[in-house]
Amino acid sequence: MRLGLLVLCLALLGPFLGEYGLKLLSEALILGLYAMAFNLLFHQAGLLSFGQAAFFGVGAYAMALLMARSGWSFLATLPLAFLLGGAAAFLVGFLSLRLTRIYFTMLTLAFAQLLYAVAHKWYAFTGGDNGITDLRPAGPWGESLPFYYLTLGLFGLLVGLLASLERSPFGYALRALRDNRARAEAVGLDGFRHLLLAFALAGAISGVAGALQGALQRSVFPDYLFWTRSAEAIISTILGGSGVFLGPAVGAAAFLFLRVLVQAQTEYWPFFLGLLLLLMVLFFPRGLAGVWARLGRGISLGVERGAPRG
């Protein structure tokens, strides 16, 4: 419901945004989609994946290679980015999910860095650190407004899928596994299969986000697979609040808008991001959603306290 309202508002906003605003909002939606995919694993299944950039990158490279080398149309590459991102995640998940906690996190990081190193060095296939540039989707998708609507549509579709999953038996199974895997398996849940499916789906959605990002930037570089890109999903999620469904998307938008604001003033954006993260972790661990809730509670408490006096 809230998702539908958000998408509708953003759709109505489209024609009034300038070229720059459309690009910025498209990027916020893409990062939001990517963070939402990460949070399917993080919040629902209790898996801290530090390799989400791998699938973001696989989607981006799938789009770029198919478009630049095989002459595919941009739209046709998107389902492929979904499938390849999902297939890569299925493989990585199949190997990683046998480990738990920090070992799982480290193995996902290792696989993502492995792919990064390959993309960085395999000049003949990926162009190495020169990346793949001059990607311009043919037809309307090369224009900002149609691209924005395409991104918004995919955001609505895929986040809608995540929302319906959350309330499905599958979503409940994931949460049961998160809370107590041994008990959930004792009552007959196949933990590995459920987590693997979630991991593959998160990878597939990350792949679509990567393909969109590559098309938006008109280029794909190995840094799409680098570990700091995985950290962006985590930052967005914690910034927005992982416990609220749309929290990661809100966090992603906040992250990007803040970056634009700070970068207009100073080149030391990482310093400000670091400081912000530090303060959030120390004082607002539940993210913007938590701040919002605390503000709301403060106001309502104020009203209650004020009532007798008035």
Binding site: F42, L48, F50, L95, R98, L99, R101, I102, Y103, T105, M106, L107, L109, A110, F111, Q113, L114, A117, V118, H120, K121, W122, Y123, A182, W227, T228, A231, I234, I235, I238, Y268, P270, F271, L273, G274, L275, L276, L277, L278, V281, L282, P285
Partner: protein, 293 residues
């Protein structure tokens, strides 16, 4: 490829392994004893390199005093960071530790860029090691020998500390059972500060010791922390000897991998890490986690 060349490559790999060990062993100790995943560990390595410039004004003559000051500064900075930033988040889940230490990485990288500029900074070899030695007729930097000695002495010192002193026994006990240690009357919070400070000081020392061979850049922190994770995961989280073994394996893999398949040398360490995680997730010298019911 003759023998002297292979020997030189071996020496290069071991010299690289020496700084890797200094970088990684603190990360392993900090994780093993405190359960903290320190993504800022590489930043202290970088900080050590830059502090050497600050303390010596880039003069080779001041190298020894500078190295000592870096070690001392590392202890102070480590203790401060633990008390002010890490302590409040012990009870939180791992992702908050990762995020907080990642925030620290971002802050330190920009602070160094602000103070020293974004370019490369190189440091001359200290006078004692400025002329090369010869191995079967081939020249190699005598500074390699210093790095090997430094890492060897650090490993021995750590071993003596951990296995031959009361404090070391407590550190090892902290990796096993914190509550029991507290019940025995040990000041565990103070112990944690000491462990963190020691780990940070070793990383800073490693960074400072590397600078005469390799220029310092603000970006070295991100690479260093990933290398440290590879080493520690391969060797076993929390194991000092594991960090040593991991560092030697990665050092040699780099030195010889670059000869065999130069374009894929970057891939090998990650491939080895993934392989170890798959076959022996607790690392080559780590202990398998106790089965929990």
């Amino acid at each position: 490829m003759d023998l002297s060349f292979l020997l030189l490559q071996l020496l290069t790999g071991l010299a690289y392994a020496s700084t890797l060990f200094l970088l990684s062993v603190g990360l392993s100790l900090i994780f093993g004893a405190m359960g903290i995943v320190n993504f800022a560990h590489g930043s202290f390595y970088m900080l050590g390199a830059y502090l050497l410039f600050a303390f010596t004004r880039g003069q080779a003559e001041g190298f020894w005093a500078g190295l000592f000051l870096v070690l001392a500064a590392g202890l102070v900075v480590g203790a401060l960071v633990e008390r002010l930033l890490i302590r409040p988040i012990y009870p939180r889940p791992e992702e908050y530790q990762i995020l907080l230490t990642y925030a620290l990485l971002l802050i330190l990288e920009d602070l160094v860029r602000l103070a020293f500029g974004a370019g490369y900074r190189s440091f001359p070899l200290p006078p004692l090691f400025s002329s090369p030695l010869f191995l079967l007729g081939a020249p190699f930097p005598s500074y390699y020998l210093f790095l090997l000695a430094l890492a060897g002495l650090s490993a021995l010192g750590l071993w003596a500390f951990l296995y031959r002193t009361r404090l070391g026994t407590w550190v090892r006990a902290a990796t096993q059972d914190r509550e029991m240690l507290e019940a025995l009357g040990v000041n565990v919070p103070l112990l944690y500060t000491a462990i963190f400070a020691l780990g940070i000081a070793l990383a800073a020392l490693g960074g400072a010791a590397l600078v005469p061979l390799q220029a310092a850049t603000p970006g070295m922190a991100v690479d260093a922390v990933i290398n440290a994770f590879i080493v520690v995961v391969i060797g076993g989280l929390g194991s000092v000897w594991g960090a040593l073994l991991g560092a030697v394996l990665i050092g040699l893999l780099q030195a010889f991998g670059i000869l065999l398949l130069p374009e894929m040398a970057m891939v090998f360490p990650f491939a080895l890490m993934a392989l170890v995680l798959l076959l022996r997730p607790w690392g080559l010298l780590g202990r398998p986690p106790a089965v929990r019911t």
